[in-house]
């Protein structure tokens, strides 16, 4: 196994900083280039590498294509980034790929859309608690101001525990990249090159990466291209970071479940309500997978991740084929040869490392059901994920799995939780004996409010960038 240069890789690839409960993501736009480079040079020295596991604070920095261009990265190097990164998240075709249509259309985004200023960078601050965050944020803001860098938007986050805003346990299933010193199930263990550039991926290949003419790096700041050319590698130890602000209508979600499951006499049926929510998600609120615990939530299975769908639940009688977690990580359920190692190998080529954080005050399901009117607080997820190949990993999951009305033999349904639906709403089938149950007209619960594709460079690459003249 290739040894990873952990002191050059930003730590977010290795860990989500779960211990650091407070987080702020600052979307930035550079002003004058020289002060921006100076700022970059000083920040580059403070970023947290993967070799450290901080208990107090962490700082990470990612850049958009426009940001790299503004800082003066050569056009030949920029051309080495992936097409989707260079093109950005909001082209008409990409909108169809991502489902950013109708209410999700970038025209109405708060940031990253065509009506918003072009983002150049994302500064990610993590601290142990909110008190420390206030100080860290003040210090960062002041330095940004001095460097003439504008904060386009500050993405606040809220510590709502181990759940996502709808109230379901989150972050249970993550791929385990090789080389970071963590052990995982074989099914989840993925080649480092799927998440870091410059190392072999699941095909045993190096993913395309931005290279630099050695003449343009006389100080040899950048690592050597591991592909064997004479070039220096700007991409090595870096990776792509996808960020999307997803508003979640928690109240709407729970009220929909309650209304849909009322008995014939109009009575509320809490068990049926929670069961429907679980069917849509594919796990119970406590985390237990429906495939292994079809009838009830089970604390003993709260973090259960050691299961497949094909043997025992191929038809989705327990966990519907169209459920959120089954769509976004189908495990062993798809061709070639469902239930086989080949199927799992295919699945491993479409994994992402999720690094998102919730925002907005927590609204429990109970409160969501009680409140007669919305509380006016926006809540949701600052979705963030890492992948070496945005189109094969993130976009594939979004397009071919979650938003695909034809996923795994279905006809006309999208992910019931996050799938894009028109005014007519979504359809969701729950296979059952003797006859499936089918819901239509399911309203939208998740709305995209912003987003961009970033690159999370290695530390030497950032130093190189700050030294450009």
């Amino acid at each position: 196994m290739t040894k990873l240069e952990l002191d050059d890789i930003q730590g977010l690839v290795a860990r989500g900083y779960g211990r650091l409960r407070a987080a702020r993501f600052l979307v930035l736009a550079f002003g004058d280039i020289q002060p921006a480079r100076q700022w970059l040079a000083s920040v580059a020295g403070e970023l947290t590498p993967a070799s450290e596991d901080p208990r107090e604070a962490a700082v990470q920095l990612a850049l958009t294509h426009a940001g790299l261009e503004t800082l003066g990265l050569a056009a030949t190097t920029l051309a080495g980034f992936s097409h989707e990164f260079r093109e950005g998240m909001t082209t008409p075709h990409r909108q169809r790929v991502l489902g950013d249509l109708d209410g999700n259309a970038p025209e109405s985004w708060r940031w990253g859309g065509p009506a918003n200023p072009v983002p150049h960078a994302l500064l990610m601050l993590y601290t142990a608690n909110e008190v420390q965050m206030a100080g860290a944020l003040d210090a960062a803001t002041e330095r940004l101001g001095t460097a003439g860098i504008r904060v386009l938007v500050t993405l606040d986050t809220t510590d709502i525990g181990e759940v996502e805003p709808f109230g379901f346990r989150d972050g249970i299933s993550q791929p385990v990249p090789e080389g970071f010193g963590r052990e995982g199930r074989k099914e989840d263990t993925v080649k480092a090159g799927e998440f870091v550039l410059g190392y072999p991926n699941e095909y045993g290949e190096l993913t395309d990466r931005p290279l630099v003419d050695p003449l343009k790096d006389p100080g040899e700041v950048l690592p050597q291209d591991s592909g064997g050319t004479k070039d220096r590698d700007f991409g090595r130890n870096g990776t792509y970071l996808v960020v999307r602000q997803l508003e979640q209508d928690v109240r709407g979600f729970w009220r929909y479940l309650e209304e849909t499951t009322r008995g014939s006499n109009g009575d509320v049926r809490p068990e049926e309500r929670d069961r429907l929510g679980a069917k849509m998600v594919g796990r119970w609120p406590g985390g237990a997978p429906l495939t292994t615990s079809p009838d009830r939530d089970d604390e003993a299975l709260a973090k259960s991740n050691d299961f497949g769908y094909h043997h025992g639940d191929a038809e989705g009688l327990s966990c519907p084929v169209g459920a959120h977690v089954r769509r976004t990580n189908p495990r062993d359920s798809l061709d070639p040869n469902p239930g086989s190692a080949d199927s799992l190998a295919l699945n491993r080529r479409h994994r992402i490392l999720r690094r998102g954080r919730a925002y907005g005050a927590r609204l429990t399901p109970e409160d969501a059901l009680e409140a007669s009117s919305p509380d006016g607080i926006e809540r949701g997820l600052h979705f963030a994920c890492l992948a070496a190949n945005i189109s094969r990993q993130f976009e594939f999951i979004q397009h071919t799995w979650a938003n695909n009305s034809k996923f795994d033999g279905l006809y006309d349904e999208v992910d019931p939780i996050m799938g894009t639906r028109g005014a007519a709403g979504a359809t969701f089938s729950m296979p059952a004996d003797p006859v499936r149950q089918r819901l239509t007209g399911i309203p939208q619960f998740v709305t995209v409010r912003g987003g961009a594709y970033f690159f999370l460079p290695g530390l030497r690459a950032l130093r190189y960038l700050s030294s450009l003249k």
């Binding site: 051309a79 097409h83 260079r86 093109e87 082209t91 008409p92 075709h93 990409r94 169809r96 790929v97 991926n201 095909y203 045993g204 290949e205 993913t207 395309d208 038809e315 061709d335 070639p336 190998a345 295919l346 080529r349 189109s391 094969r392 976009e395 594939f396 397009h399 071919t400 695909n404 009305s405 034809k406 033999g409 006809y411 296979p431 004996d433 003797p434 006859v435 499936r436 089918r438 239509t440």
Partner: protein
């Protein structure tokens, strides 16, 4: 009764020098609505897919731009062609007037248009049809059937406690009671006896030829391998990068419906070895598609509705086109993950393909080089028509199984399995 099998028609027209831009405009206009616009493809019964594609000339002097007109239709193709001329004459005029030899305005008639089309028909080197014998009429009718049955299940909400056999009987009764659905109680018609007889003859012929060639293969295997390895090592395999603007244009017309179109062309590598290898392998592909991969599955890929390979310019170039489900990313991944060997064998005879080893190894497994190759060689279809753009091949097969389950005896267990198709 006519046969239910499918035919693929390829027509290639030389574009008049200087008319390329006008042709592009005409194609854009026609392509804005291929089903109901001037081409009126939607009116032609039995037309599965249609497309126009402009293929640029081969590098070097003397080449002309060529316009491809591709049809996948239910037999007989000559009737489909007549219908296309009948319903889309004006559309054809607007496009084909920019090609050499198209009848002048005063001479245009159904007969002269048909004649022009027929004169430009070229053979395909290999043709794949997802399921041989399934007509457009059947595909559409079975889709309606399935929707009606789903609606019936939704309306009669409470099925709990009923046995699968009882529910199946209720569905059968529902279908029988509807004059528009009653046809579904009978099994789907099959390709004609003469079509099947010809297919068996072809199979027997192919096997006989194969046996006869065994001694040749034994003698030739070593020289073949030596030559193949020599070429695989020495042939250039440059990493081609598609132009950003080209990729943007291709993306513009992708992912608008559940199906997508794909067309790519390329030069065959120089020398007789590669040319004859391509010819032989495509013969094998065609043979396989006819006898083995003729029901829903092309060597593990289940998302292709129709595909074909056509030689061009005296077998110096090759064109491949297909109609498939889902995104190009998924399509390319399917190729790499499921059928890289087959793809390598055929496409490695084309220039710029990622380097293979022993014909079937590596090649497409070099993921990003392969994906760049695909995009760089792809051309858009400015006019594209599908008779059922929002049905996947899997949907169509499932619909057929829903219909098939309506007749005959069934055990309770089989009825339960059948109900899960709904």
């Amino acid at each position: 009764m006519s046969s239910t099998h499918q035919e693929a028609l390829t027509m290639i027209f030389p574009v008049s020098a200087g008319s390329e831009a006008a042709l592009d405009d005409a194609l854009a206009t026609a392509g804005a609505d291929a089903a109901l616009g001037s081409m009126n493809f939607g009116k032609v019964d039995g037309l599965h897919f249609a497309r126009f594609v402009v293929i640029p000339p081969a590098p070097g002097a003397g080449g002309t731009v060529q316009l491809f007109f591709l049809l996948d239709c239910d037999a007989p193709a000559r009737t489909r062609l007549r219908e296309i001329v009948r319903d889309g004459g004006a559309g054809l005029d607007a496009v084909l007037r920019w090609c050499d030899g198209y009848p002048a305005e005063s001479e245009r008639s159904a007969a002269s248009r048909s004649d022009y089309l027929r004169r430009h028909i070229q053979p395909s080197a290999a043709v794949y049809v997802n399921t041989v014998g399934r007509t457009v009429k059947q595909i559409r009718a079975e889709a309606t059937l399935r929707e009606s049955v789903e609606g019936f299940l939704d309306r009669e909400r409470d099925w709990s406690g009923k046995r699968p056999g009882e529910i199946r009987s209720a569905i059968q009764a529902f279908v029988a009671a509807d004059g528009d659905l009653r046809w579904a109680l009978l099994p789907a018609p099959q390709p004609s006896l003469s079509f099947r007889a010809r297919r068996y003859l072809n199979l027997a012929f192919g096997i006989a030829i194969g046996m006869a060639l065994v001694p040749v293969a034994l003698v030739g295997a070593i020289p073949f391998a030596v030559q193949l390895r020599r070429l695989e090592r020495s042939e250039p395999s440059p990493r081609v990068l598609p132009d950003d603007e080209h990729v943007r244009k291709l993306g513009e017309i992708e992912d608008l419906v559940s199906q997508n179109q794909f067309t790519a062309y390329g030069e065959i590598k120089p020398g007789r070895f590669r040319r004859y290898l391509a010819v032989g392998l495509l013969w094998a592909v065609n043979f396989g598609a006819r006898h083995r991969f003729n029901h829903g599955n092309l060597a593990g890929v289940k998302t292709i509705h129709a595909a074909r390979w056509v030689f061009l310019d005296g077998r110096k170039r090759m064109v491949f086109c297909s109609n498939y489900d889902g995104s190009l990313e998924n399509y390319m991944d399917d190729f790499i993950d499921k059928v890289a060997w087959g793809l390598n064998a055929v496409f490695s005879n084309g220039a710029e393909y990622p380097r293979t080893n022993w014909l079937v190894r590596d090649g497409a497994k070099n993921e990003l080089a392969f994906k760049s190759y695909i995009r760089a060689h792809q051309v858009p279809s400015p006019v594209w028509y599908s008779a059922y753009p929002n049905l996947t091949a899997i949907n169509i097969e499932n619909n057929a199984q829903v219909r098939a389950g309506l007749h005959g005896e069934m055990s309770e267990a089989d009825a339960a399995r059948w109900l899960r198709r709904l």
